[in-house]
């Protein structure tokens, strides 16, 4: 600001201007005093430009002649304006994002493709969230810590961690481990470089096989699913067949037991019946025998279709369709 006031050098011209102004405004007659007032006014103007506000979530780092002076939190402040003082107001509470392997919706293959521990290639995209825990270090200790250094560190850490694990682990079980190990490694590098940055979260957005081999990987997944399905069906078969077999077994045994009971009871009954009949028979053998015989014949004979009484020395031939007709007899 002082430099801009160089035109004061042409003093006679200035006093002419001042004299002109005096015609309208009553200014002090003494030009020297007037000059001092003008200078004081300019100093005041310069000084007032040192007023600044720090918004909530921001911090201001103040330097006096280039040397760090103090930090200022949210609120209205004054500090020496340039060129004596310098200030950097930074949103320290804001969570910053770093996208590795993608930008928005677009994939960046050169960042995303990396070697795994078993010399495969995997496509991994990482989102890092970080904030500034030490503004002084952030501003004065590293060059471009939030951009270039973060990028270098994130890429190095992720690739080192993924490079230590086989692809199947990276794709499935070890995802969490990749995240936490990457986070730890990143933080240690950032601390080593005195960046004042704190890594809040490291998230794998997308971990997948490269597009060129995606089909082959999908086929393995399909094979696994088929396997699970087949195992399920086999289990279902077991659950269907075994109970039926047990049911069959129970039925066969119960049937046998039923038969046993019936058979024994029946024979018992028959035995009892025989015993009773025998008892009576023993009392009157001859008559009982005849009576039983005749009773049976009486019951049987009326049922018969034909009774032929013939000569025992003849052979009788019947037509099987019409048994009523005797076709002939052979006299011997």
């Amino acid at each position: 600001m002082f430099d801009n006031k160089e035109p004061e050098f042409n003093f006679s011209k200035l006093s002419n201007i001042l004299n002109n102004i005096r015609k309208y405004i009553p200014l002090p007659k003494n030009n020297f005093f007037f000059l001092i007032i003008v200078i004081l006014f300019l100093i005041g103007l310069w000084g007032s430009s040192g007023i600044f506000t720090v918004q909530p979530g921001e911090q201001a780092a103040l330097r006096l002649f280039g040397k760090f002076n103090s930090l200022a939190g949210p609120g209205l402040h004054w500090f020496f304006p340039s060129p004596i003082g310098d200030k950097d107001i930074v949103a320290t509470d804001t969570i910053r994002r770093l996208e590795l392997g993608f930008r928005g919706d677009k994939v960046v293959p050169s960042e995303a493709l990396m070697i795994t521990g078993d010399e495969n290639i995997v496509d991994a995209q990482l989102l890092v969230q970080f904030d500034i825990k030490d503004l002084k270090k952030f501003l004065y200790k590293a060059i471009d810590p939030g951009e270039k250094t973060m990028m270098d560190v994130a890429e190095t850490a992720l690739r080192q961690v993924v490079g230590s694990k086989p692809i199947d682990d990276v794709l499935t079980t070890e995802k969490e481990a990749v995240q936490s190990e990457t986070k730890i490694l990143m933080q240690s590098l950032l601390d080593n470089y005195d960046t004042g940055i704190r890594v809040r979260e490291v998230k794998l957005q997308n971990v997948q096989p490269p597009a060129q081999v995606q089909d082959a990987f999908d086929d393995v997944v399909r094979a696994r699913e088929d396997k699970a399905k087949i195992i399920n069906l086999a289990d279902a078969y077991r659950e269907d067949i075994l109970p039926k077999a047990r049911g069959y077994a129970a039925k066969v045994i119960q049937d046998a037991k039923a038969y046993e009971a019936v058979r024994i009871a029946a024979s018992q009954g028959e035995a009892d019946k025989f015993n009773s009949i025998l008892k009576e028979y023993n009392l009157q053998k001859e008559t009982t025998e005849s009576r039983l015989y005749l009773e049976t014949i009486e019951r049987v004979l009326p049922k018969l279709k034909q009774i032929i009484i013939g000569d025992p020395n003849k052979i009788y031939i019947f037509n099987s369709d019409n048994v009523k007709q005797v076709i002939g007899t052979l006299e011997d």
Partner: protein, 293 residues
Amino acid sequence: MKRSYTAILIIILIIFFVGIQSMFIVDETNTAIVTRFGEPIKTSTNPGLNFKLPFVDQVRKFEKRLLIFDAPPDSLLTSDKKRLVIDIYARGKIVDPLLFFKTTRNESLAASRAIDIISSELRREIASDLQVEIIKTNREQIMNKVKQQAGPKIREFGIDLIDVRIKRADFPEEIAESIYGRMQAERKRKADKERAEAAEVDLTVRSEVDKDASIIKAKADKEAKIIIGNAEATAIKILSEAHGRDPEFYRFLRQLETYENSFNANTTIIIPKDSNILDSLFGANKFSSMPSK
């Protein structure tokens, strides 16, 4: 009046100019050295307002923050004669500004020299390692070795080498296709294995189930037969005990039963006419109505 004003003003300006010339600001992010007629006379590492002789002393400022040495990716040969494209970066710090000024003069020149040194150390180091070590196990160690080798050489420029890192170790583009081919073959092997295992489980479980079911059924059949056999035995025992008391009478009764059971409406019986069964059964006039003589 006018002349004295002008004189005062000129004097003020001269004082001001000389004052400006005898002061210099060192920022938090800088170190500075003061040279007199090109010859360095002192270093000022403390930030803030510093002083020098006006006009004769010159101030050179250097970066005090960590310097970024970013090497371009380089295709290197490993000890097992495989190629890897390795991208490294390093961080260094000017710790001896005077030495730095004497040897390199500016940061970008220093960076390119440092990168040359680190790259050649890296090439030598990679040439003695197996590819798999670089990818998987040894990365940290390799970087430490490179740092130890390159560190003293870079220190000669007044720069402390803080860290060397392998940012990327990639397969060269031209072999990427064969890597993908290998990955596909590996996946196919895995898929085939899954399918074979599925078939194994399927056959194993089903045949086991069939076996178990057959055993269960066979055991039940066996048990049933034993039960039936025992039942028969018991029945025979009961009956023979009873019938044994008069076998003749039993046979007679059984015969009658047989007649009753085996004669029905379709039966034709032929009885010899002189059979005494008939004599005892029917009267003589009954016989004339019979169809046969």
